[in-house]
């Protein structure tokens, strides 16, 4: 909304906005949707924040205790493990997904026989429900019956059970995520590539630009919007990872979200820190999104063009 930027003039602003009947109508028109957003979005978030500042338990609302839950949370080694796992997972998996996804997008953007089939085939892993994919991969990682453990063992790379080691589990989770969501990134980037008109490349070629120049001077800048969207989506998704960790690791692999789940759903005593962690995830995810939009200049709407 354009009016937000003019918002710091106090009463004169208020008069300008609401003194004008037409503008007033506009506000009245968006009011119902605003109310609904307040009820369904802001109220639960606010309630979560309030809960995290009290010593509430699963069965009763408690009294205000300030930031005690947060200090307890930051001292909890389980939380710190979840945080470090989540950060490593997010950075590594998103980076891999981006580079591989970009490669795939560039490859299938070219015209070749059977292109439609390849594009559809690429999407298959993404179409799997995460839980099913995680169960399937867990079986493959399983020692004595799993193919991956068998191959790794035969090649002499890993002889210990993969599922017993938290480090190997985390690497496994990253690989599964890359396997599963690279197609999504590729698809978003492919859509971006297809909006770049062919004439631009033709003109560049006429001017004598080589492949590298064309890629870095034309493709990448024109693809920036699509890249930011893809990377932001993936970063936020990876940051909130829950199902993949929970099922693949069978409770062994901690992320921020599994910490929240354990706190508020399994434990009876960790409800406070669990809630604090939920707020922590929300705030940090929001900051990540803000970083993308403000610092990296991601466009959130077409109007600003």
């Amino acid at each position: 909304m354009a009016s937000a930027s003019t918002g710091k003039k106090g009463r004169s602003w208020f008069k300008e906005e609401f003194g004008n009947p037409e503008r007033r109508t506009a506000y009245y028109m968006v009011l119902p949707s605003l109310l609904i957003i307040v009820v369904v979005a802001f109220f639960p978030i606010l309630y979560g924040v309030v809960l995290s500042l009290t010593d509430s338990t699963i069965s009763g609302f408690g009294s205000f205790i300030g930031i005690e839950n947060y200090t307890e949370m930051f001292q909890d080694s389980d939380f710190l493990e979840g945080l470090s796992n989540t950060v490593i997972f997010t950075v590594v998996s998103v980076a891999l997904e981006f580079f591989i996804g970009l490669g795939i997008a560039l490859a299938i953007n070219r015209a070749f026989r059977g292109r439609g089939l390849v594009r559809a085939a690429v999407l298959v892993p993404w179409a799997f429900p995460t839980v099913i994919a995680a169960v399937m991969w867990r079986l493959m990682f399983q020692s004595q019956v799993g193919i991956i453990q068998y191959v790794a063992d035969s090649l002499g790379i890993i002889s210990d059970p993969i599922l017993s080691s938290r480090t190997l589990l985390l690497i496994g989770a990253i690989l599964v995520d890359v396997w599963k969501t690279t197609p999504f990134v590729a698809l978003l980037l492919l859509a971006g590539l297809q909006t770049i008109p062919g004439e631009v490349y033709e003109a560049a070629r006429v001017d004598g630009a080589n492949v590298m120049q064309r890629f870095f001077r034309i493709t990448m800048p024109l693809l920036k919007g699509a890249i930011l969207v893809a990377v932001l989506f993936r970063t936020l998704d990876a940051y909130r990872v829950y199902d993949l960790f929970w099922v693949l690791g069978n409770r062994e692999l901690a992320s921020l979200s599994t910490y929240v789940y354990e706190g508020v759903r399994i434990s009876q005593l960790q409800f406070g820190p669990g809630n604090a962690a939920a707020v922590f995830i929300f705030v940090t995810a929001f900051l990540i999104a803000l970083f993308f939009i403000r610092v990296l200049g991601m466009r959130t709407s077409v109007e600003e063009e």
């Binding site: 119902p32 109310l35 399983q142 059970p161 017993s164």
Partner: protein, 446 residues
């Protein structure tokens, strides 16, 4: 003021007010609708139906008993089985959410043995002392009623597959081939036999069990601690896990992996993986619940026949020491806010009667909670495991350290036990860590 505002502004303003009114009304309605749906999510049933929650009825025995109950009380009472998830954790999660909301229409709850002590302090279940007096309680295996006691009251009635208990299954045929006549009595014997027999027979694993970081792993590790003379809580609920006995127990637990008796993979195995391995003929020994016996001879599940498999108590530290098996199983409670308390009790009395338990035990191959049924010939014939494991089930079953905050206790134990099994931490470190964290949890419940 501009010309425009003077000209058309006033009528426009009036119109706007009406529109505004409509809009506000619309928003109000939307809000009310939202609140409304939230509010009437759980109206109480009130049809006089006795709603009974329990996991899936895999063998049809629950349906059969309920049908019988409904026929006996035709026109007066009607019971229905509301199916809950087969995963105990998910069932717990679901029922706990309903209780928290306080709107559940459930009357009778099928409860895992670790729930009564967690539900009672929240006032979610009803004290049954008047209806289920000591004279009645005596007819059940002691440990199955002890888990339901809270502050002088009793909150559930033991039912079927209760006591569920850890047992050591062994391949009689393979032990014979290696010239071993009796199953192992001590953990050391078990290790030796596991290594020797699996080598002789040329099969993959000696001994398999459930070592993963979950509730089943807690049960497995506790059996090692108990059979070494250690414990988690004493009779006054003081944490006593930091003891040489418990440390020795966890050291033996870890030695199952280091000695090669068990594959390293058991550290992430649950019931599914371990039983599949044993049923497939890939292991000599398995620690499992009584239900594994029922599948023997069923060619769709396993190639093993009942006469190839023997059952022994959980091994001990030194010969002659008492053995202990971890208690599992199902009981029945009444939801505290139900308005058909009397009917609910009638249903429980029917379902936990000697006759009903016997019927269900024979259909499903569970073990009975009533002591008298261990002498029953028909049961002994239909469910051999009841006869084979009789001594263990009647005498050597021990409850997990269940208290109000067992959920937290279990999370801590599962993680430490699993790390100790894998050798990531030493047994000493595990018991020290647990002594501290469990003491904190017990503080909360005092």
């Amino acid at each position: 003021m501009t010309e425009r505002a003077e000209g058309s502004g006033v009528p426009a303003g009036r119109k706007l007010n009406r529109r505004d009114f409509l809009k506000m009304g619309g928003a109000g309605l939307a809000g009310a609708a939202l609140l409304g749906t939230a509010g009437c999510g759980g109206g109480s049933g009130g049809t006089g139906q006795i709603i009974f929650t329990m996991g899936p009825d895999t063998d049809g025995s629950i349906a059969k008993l309920i049908k019988k109950f409904n026929e006996q009380n035709k026109g007066k009472l009607e019971a229905v089985h509301r199916q809950m998830p087969s995963s105990t954790t998910q069932y717990y999660d679901k029922i706990r959410t309903e209780f928290q909301a306080g709107t559940s229409d459930v009357s009778v709850i099928g409860t895992d043995v670790i729930w009564p002590k967690q539900f009672a302090p929240q006032n979610w279940t009803m004290d049954l002392s008047d209806r289920f007096p000591a004279s009645e309680q005596q007819k059940f295996i002691a440990v199955t009623t002890q888990v339901a006691e809270y502050e002088g009251g009793i909150y559930s009635v033991p039912w079927c597959s209760c006591p569920d208990a850890g047992l050591l299954y062994y391949r009689k045929d393979l032990l014979d081939d290696s010239g071993i006549s009796a199953p192992p009595e001590t953990w050391d014997e078990l290790k030796e036999m596991a290594v020797q027999v699996s080598e002789d027979a040329g099969i993959q694993n000696g001994f398999v069990f459930q070592g993963a970081n979950y509730e089943g792993g807690v049960c497995n590790a506790l059996e090692y601690i108990w059979t070494h003379g250690g414990d988690v809580l004493d009779e006054n609920d003081n944490v006593v896990i930091d003891s040489p006995e418990a440390t020795a127990g966890l050291a033996t637990y870890n030695s199952m992996l280091t000695s090669g008796a068990a594959p390293e993979a058991v550290a992430n195995w649950t019931e599914t993986e371990s039983l599949a391995n044993f049923y497939n003929g890939d292991s000599v020994f398995i620690r499992y619940w009584p239900s594994a016996y029922g599948g023997l001879g069923d060619t769709t599940q396993t190639k093993l026949k009942p006469d190839q498999v023997g059952i022994a108590p959980i091994p001990v530290d030194k010969p002659g020491n008492p053995t202990f098996s971890c208690l599992g199983g199902w009981e029945m409670s009444i939801y505290a806010n139900t308005d058909i308390e009397e009917d609910a009790w009638k249903f429980i009395a029917f379902m936990t009667s000697e006759e009903s338990i016997k019927e269900r035990v024979i259909i499903g191959g569970y073990d009975p909670s009533r002591k008298a049924l261990y002498e029953d010939k028909e049961i002994a014939e239909a469910t051999p495991v009841v006869k084979l494991a009789k001594d263990v089930l009647l005498k050597n079953v021990k409850s997990r350290p269940v208290t109000e905050y067992y959920g937290d206790t279990s999370l801590e134990m599962a993680e430490q036990f699993n790390s100790a099994l894998k050798g990531d931490i030493s047994p000493e470190k595990a018991v020290k860590t647990l002594q501290k964290s469990l003491s904190q949890i017990m503080e909360e419940s005092k």
